[in-house]
């Protein structure tokens, strides 16, 4: 009852605030059934299901919103989907077993983690050509890029390092040891820090981008849950840099962290085995993929309350939202 009232109050507040919220397409990769589900961010309804390659995981969208890129891991390729027609219009030479990637701020370069080959492949998106391959640690996964595009960070899950790569020379400039199974790298919008989640270690390491030193290790504690069940994966930081959201895997919750105090302010209960996160462009909603319950959850970033869960495909993995 009480929660209802709270939700209602939130909705009223949102209406009064009334920055017109856009309807954006939300794209979710479903690892187990080789599809991408399209969800309308305003109605929160599924509008379309696109058949893609095998084992789709990493997913991102071009800055103009025209092209969707999907890692088809078991096809060893990155597929390009036209967002207007929902047709696959081409592929990028990603190298074997692409899992996650990040697009440069200028949209011209895609950096792909090749999990099976201990490589990061650098791709010229326009020419669809491999620029270079950078050897990194065992099982590269997390990919983050600084807002100025100068520094790319890759995490290797078995080596347990964050590799800082200079994007002009394509050289590794620093390797920072973090806790077990680092999964994700997210820069703060001002580029001062990169946040690295460690799935098995159960922590998030905050690394200063200038000194390459760990300035803080964030831990999580949830009453009634054993520590092994808390497995941080996806990390997103708000545009104003004030709040970080951390998906906690089998803990079925998203943690809200104050980026100034590094305190966890709240745990939001979503679906089962929550992995990746994405904001809507207006920042009003955060969307989580919940792998084992086959759904995504829309979260109101003002109240940090879940709004609605939407069933998508089998084992939803990644999520990206079309720009305005």
């Amino acid at each position: 009852m009480r929660r209802h009232a709270y939700l209602l109050a939130g909705a009223v507040a949102a209406v009064i605030d009334a920055a017109p919220s856009w309807a954006n397409a939300v794209y979710v990769s479903n690892e187990r059934d080789n599809t991408v589900t399209v969800v309308d961010s305003k109605t929160m309804e599924v509008t379309k299901t696109i058949d893609v390659g095998q084992r789709p995981r990493g997913i991102t969208i071009s800055h103009d919103g025209k092209h969707l890129y999907v890692c088809a891991s078991d096809d060893d390729t990155v597929q390009i989907i036209d967002t207007a027609t929902h047709q696959i219009i081409g592929t990028l030479p990603s190298g074997p077993d692409p899992e996650l990637f990040v697009l440069s701020p200028d949209g011209k370069t895609l950096y792909v983690a090749n999990e099976d080959d201990n490589l990061v492949t650098v791709i010229d998106v326009e020419k669809k050509r491999v620029i270079t391959e950078i050897p990194v640690g065992v099982e590269p996964e997390g990919m983050g890029i600084s807002p100025d595009g100068k520094t790319m960070v890759n995490t290797s899950e078995t080596t347990n390092m964050a590799h800082f790569i200079d994007t002009s020379s394509h050289e590794i400039v620093a390797n920072v040891l973090v806790d077990s199974r680092p999964r994700f790298a997210e820069f703060k919008p001002d580029g001062s820090q990169v946040w690295i989640s460690s799935e098995i270690g159960g922590t998030v390491s905050v690394i200063d981008n200038a000194s390459k030193e760990i300035v803080k290790k964030i831990t999580f504690e949830i009453q009634g849950l054993r520590s092994e069940a808390i497995q941080p994966v996806g990390v997103r930081i708000t545009a104003d840099g004030k709040k970080a959201y951390v998906a906690l895997g089998p803990a079925n919750r998203v943690a809200v962290v104050n980026t100034e105090t590094y305190e966890v302010e709240k745990y939001i209960l979503v679906g089962q085995r929550v992995w990746q996160l994405a904001f809507t462009p207006d920042g009003q909603n955060l969307i989580s993929t919940n792998g084992l319950s086959n759904d995504i959850t829309f979260i109101d970033t003002k109240s940090d309350e879940p709004i609605k869960s939407v069933t998508v495909g089998a084992l939803p993995w990644g999520v990206t939202v079309a720009p305005n």
């Binding site: 999990e115 065992v138 099982e139 899950e157 078995t158 390092m161 098995i200 030193e213 054993r226």
Partner: protein
């Protein structure tokens, strides 16, 4: 017989050629590999190997079982080592089952081995454990499931990445109890390992509230395996062997020696599921496990070896990775530092099992989930939901601290 197998890593080799073998100081953020001296970390692997028989040709252990897992981990460690100036290599020594291993172990000591994986019998392991300690050598038991090595005969310098029989039996029992299949019959073989596994099953039944309503011993009389006449006989023999049993839910088989166990499924008098060393089998790993990033290690393993990864491969991989992790995080090959790191209460490792694995500090047994699988895939993993523990649910598997007979000095 001694053979030295060094996993090639061209880059590391090159770097090793150019720079002195010095212990690098710990940098805050590690710089370009080319500017670093290389520290060499050698790992020994002592194994008793003889070709083994099995009732199904699919179950004959590959010749490189275990060693292949160690080699993949050496490669993994070297990929990481590239960034830190560390190079790992493996020194495999092969002996026989009943042989005295002291002479070959002394040769390993003479070569300066400080870390040795062992896949030998409990008796062989005990014959070198104290000699190892006197020489400051850490042993990693990757092969023996004998509980006694973690209990009465535990040692402060012997770590165990192989699970114990009691861990395996408990993992299986939890699942059967969760399924409400609580009434068991136990068929066990006449060899020592079969009897030990049967003991572990009896203990598990008591712990988790299952009931063994009848036990039957299958004497090994030296019957032919996998021959035409054998199969005909088996089809007549197994139903008779399992006739007139009291009402039961599951048939548990304890036959590590592969004398009759694999013949039991689908041949029992009553139509009942079979578990234990045949049917639903508990193990430290399953060749079809893809969960928790498992497909990554499986792909890597298959690419390197041309076959699927087995339990012993995972046990050896884990031991080499533990050493790699310790060397990486201490940025050292110093035995004292590495031992202290592994023995620290916060030590843990990611091993594709859905949660971190760590050591029981009272007997240096690796606490780890137990996979339950048949010949095709993973059916479940234990600990099962609802089996609670005040410290770690993984400690619901096997002998727990309050019951341990181990006294580490």
């Amino acid at each position: 017989m001694t053979m030295k197998s060094t996993v090639p890593n061209t880059l590391v080799f090159f770097v090793a050629c150019f720079f002195l073998l010095v212990n690098a100081p710990q940098p805050m953020a590690q710089q370009n590999p080319a500017t670093k001296p290389v520290t060499e970390i050698r790992i020994g692997y002592l194994r008793a190997y003889e070709p083994q028989l099995a009732l199904s040709v699919l179950d004959i252990p590959p010749e490189d079982e275990g060693v292949a897992g160690a080699n993949v981990a050496i490669n993994d460690n070297n990929t990481t080592g590239r960034f830190l100036g560390q190079s790992f290599s493996l020194d495999v020594v092969r002996t026989k089952r009943e042989e005295d291993v002291v002479p070959v172990f002394r040769e390993m000591l003479a070569r300066g081995e400080k870390y040795v994986l062992t896949d030998i019998s409990a008796k062989q392991l005990l014959s070198i454990a104290d000699l190892a300690r006197e020489n400051g050598v850490l042993l990693f038991n990757v092969g023996s499931t004998d509980d006694i090595l973690r209990e009465q005969e535990c040692r402060s310098n012997v770590f165990h990445t192989a699970p114990t029989r009691t861990m395996l039996a408990d993992g299986l029992a939890q699942y059967l109890v969760w399924k409400q299949w609580r009434t068991w019959v136990l068929l066990y073989g006449s060899h020592e390992p079969d009897r030990l596994f049967a003991d572990a099953i009896r203990r598990a039944a008591k712990r988790f509230g299952a009931k063994i309503v009848e036990e039957r011993l299958y004497e090994d009389t030296g019957t032919a395996r996998r021959t035409d006449s054998g199969v005909v006989q088996v089809q007549r023999q197994m139903p008779v062997f399992t006739q007139n049993l009291p009402q039961h839910d599951v048939v548990i088989v304890a036959d590590e020696s592969e004398v009759f166990g694999s013949y039991v499924p689908f041949r029992t008098w009553d139509p009942r599921p079979v578990a234990g060393t045949a049917g639903l089998i508990p193990s430290s790993w399953h060749p079809a496990s893809e969960q928790w990033g498992g497909s990554q290690i499986q792909n890597r393993f298959e690419k390197a070896t041309g076959r699927r990864m087995l339990g012993k491969d995972m046990q050896a991989w884990t031991a080499v990775r533990i050493l790699g992790e310790a060397a990486t995080r201490t940025n050292s090959n110093d035995t004292a530092k590495i031992e202290a790191f592994i023995k620290d209460e916060n030590f843990s490792l990611a091993a594709f099992k859905g949660q971190k694995v760590s050591f029981r500090r009272w007997n240096w047994q690796l606490r780890q989930p137990v996979f339950l699988g048949d010949g095709r895939g993973v059916i479940s993993t234990s600990p099962q939901e609802g089996f609670l523990h005040q410290f770690s649910e993984l400690d619901t598997l096997g002998v727990d601290q309050p019951e341990t007979a181990c006294k580490l000095n």
